[in-house]
């Protein structure tokens, strides 16, 4: 029933054929090529990060490969001045919205500097405890509405997050306050190892919007066009006082939850291979471009080469970053250090022979 009430919206199908012709005019070559470029960029980043982790050059890493369409489409719909509240698996979206690649790598290499967004970019540090960033997005968005601006917020979260209290409290708060926020769920169907069937009896995540009387939209999360246009529309509604929207982007992560687990233990990897072949978000755009006669092999090669260069540069920058300064443990707990922190810092620096 609920699957019928919340059908999966799809603008292009897995074969790259247009499924909703009313979008035809808006689907320009320029837009599609931007999507493609961003998806290649973040996939290149993601693969490099895994390899860096394997070589011990960064710490544990949470890969997002397979979810590029959802992250690129939604992040490209944002405007300057909007707020982004990502999780630890949404740095693809954060990069698309303007975060620096080397800073994101720094975060995964255990440094606070990686949580500082570039100037003018309202990107929160990744939400680590599940769903806790959702009330923040509601609050930041509400603050925008209160001061009469048209900026909005987007909160990212996974399927498992919708079982958490913070999801319900945050969405309810936003709904009551008509906060301009888009709750962008990436339903990759697994919360680490637990499949969605054990996570909820609800047939969809989008239906959870019904309880809060806000629009709930279910989309093909591997179709970047749908992710983009639906987020754009939800943001538009938010900016015009229409309140929040819940978007469920149905997708799949190819890899592990993090580099610390083996998905073969909990998931049928045959399904994984099949999805890669049949439903890859990047291949889908490639097919559409080919169907439209817009695909150019040498352009695609250039895009891939540029992405590799950019990522390699970011790795160099991350690795050239000055070593962690122990003073940073003490200096940012409060605006002014308390006597406890000042004392501990002094004692530690006396011990290691450094200068405060």
């Amino acid at each position: 029933m609920m699957e019928n009430q919340f059908p999966i919206r799809q603008i292009i199908d897995v074969n790259g054929k247009i499924a909703l012709p009313e979008y035809k005019e808006k689907m320009t070559a320029e837009l599609a090529k931007k999507f493609y470029k961003q998806m290649i960029r973040i996939r290149t980043f993601d693969r490099k990060a895994i390899s860096l982790q394997r070589q011990g050059r960064i710490g544990t890493y949470a890969p997002f490969e397979g979810q590029e369409a959802a992250q690129v489409g939604s992040a490209m719909a944002l405007a300057e001045g909007d707020w982004m509240f990502p999780t630890y698996r949404d740095h693809g979206a954060a990069i698309v919205f303007g975060h620096s690649l080397s800073k994101v790598l720094l975060f995964w290499n255990g440094r606070n500097e990686g949580c500082i967004p570039p100037k003018g970019k309202n990107i929160f540090p990744p939400g680590i405890p599940i769903a806790t960033q959702i009330p923040h997005a509601a609050g930041a968005a509400y603050a925008e509405r209160k001061r009469g601006s048209t900026s909005a917020a987007i909160a990212y979260f996974g399927d498992g997050a919708t079982s958490e209290g913070d999801f319900h409290e945050g969405v309810n708060f936003a709904s009551v306050m008509r906060a301009p926020v888009v709750f962008f769920n990436q339903n990759n169907q697994f919360a680490i190892s637990v499949p969605i069937s054990k996570q909820m009896n609800s047939k969809t995540i989008a239906q959870k919007a019904l309880a809060y009387d806000i629009p709930g939209i279910r989309i093909d999360g591997n179709d970047v066009f749908t992710a983009y246009f639906e987020t754009l529309q939800a943001l538009e509604r938010a900016r015009n006082g229409g309140g929040p929207t819940l978007i469920e982007a149905v997708t799949w992560r190819y890899g592990a939850h993090t580099t610390s687990d083996d998905p073969a233990k909990y998931r049928d990897q045959v399904e994984n291979v099949k999805r890669r072949e049949e439903d890859d978000p990047i291949i889908r755009v490639e097919r559409w471009l080919k169907n439209e006669g817009l695909y150019d092999e040498s352009w695609a090669t250039t895009v891939k080469e540029e992405a590799i260069t950019e990522v390699e540069e970011a790795v160099k920058e991350m690795e050239a970053f000055p070593k962690a300064d122990p003073a940073d443990i003490f200096d940012h707990v409060f605006a002014e250090p308390t006597w406890q922190i000042a004392k501990q810092k002094k004692e530690y620096f006396d011990l290691i022979g450094g200068e405060i």
């Binding site: 949580c115 009330p135 609050g139 603050a143 001061r147 707990v333």
Partner: protein, 331 residues
Amino acid sequence: MQTAVKVKTLTLVQAITDGLDTMLQEKEEVILLGEDIGKNGGVFRATDKLQDKYGEDRVIDTPLSEAGFVGAGIGMAVNGFLPIIEIQFLGFIYPAYEQIVTHASRLRMRTMGHFTVPMVIRAPYGAGVRAPEIHCDSTEAIFTHMPGIKVVCPSNPYDAKGLLIAAIEDPDPVLFLEPMRLYRSVRDEVPDGKYTVEIGKAKKRMEGEHVTLIAWGAMIPEVMEAAKAVKEKGINCEVIDLLTLFPIDKDMIAESVQKTGRTVVVHEAHATGGLGNDILAIINDTSFLYQKAPVERVTGFDAPVPYFGFEDHYLPTPERIKHAIEKVIKF
């Protein structure tokens, strides 16, 4: 020439209302969030008539969701507002504990000061008012333990207003504990308008050279009564009202215990892991060789705060405090 500051006589809860009013007036960014704080003026009337005066846009009745509105408050604080959040009773704060200790208190550190959370969380705490169960907790130590948040607790109307204003102006999150037992039990002259009581500074309520008594909030009247009772026997107590529970005023403690060499710490929270232990550590670190007796602690028991039928047994009383004073004197 000095202009005379107008004063008014207020109860502790009225002084809090006055402090909120003063800051709502002073700063556009100040915004109040909480359950029943609007039309109802809060279950203790701490926000009485403030919604009438400042509107529903600034004094906001939130849904029943401690994690939700503390979390949303963090989002608002990061985005330019100064939220003052009322938690109806400290015993109901736990759903928001994660938001407080993993986000509010940590965001400055995580982002090296890029995002900060100038937010005040107000919470009535403590037993002694015949309240239903879970309404009587005094769990300040689970907050003082966590880095990145300050914890304060006044014991009279003057300090309540000044400390609240200081908390609102503090660039970091502050948990403001309100002794509900003292909400209406004392009246005090409170200056009109804005003034602050410095965070991190304790105050002496009584000077003496024999024993140092350290307490805060609702335990101050109990300690004062015990101090007055032993004075008749020739024991002169020095009473320190901490006011700030983190960061504690270690200098005043050290100065006093070096003079007296005998200390009794009183709190209504449980003994194990309680703040009394941190005070002991301060005495150990600053004044070990001055001590003439082991420090005594008079606290609530290591049992859940009981139903109010038992609270007179659970709470430290002047009798128990007197007993501890005599013990450190006789040692």
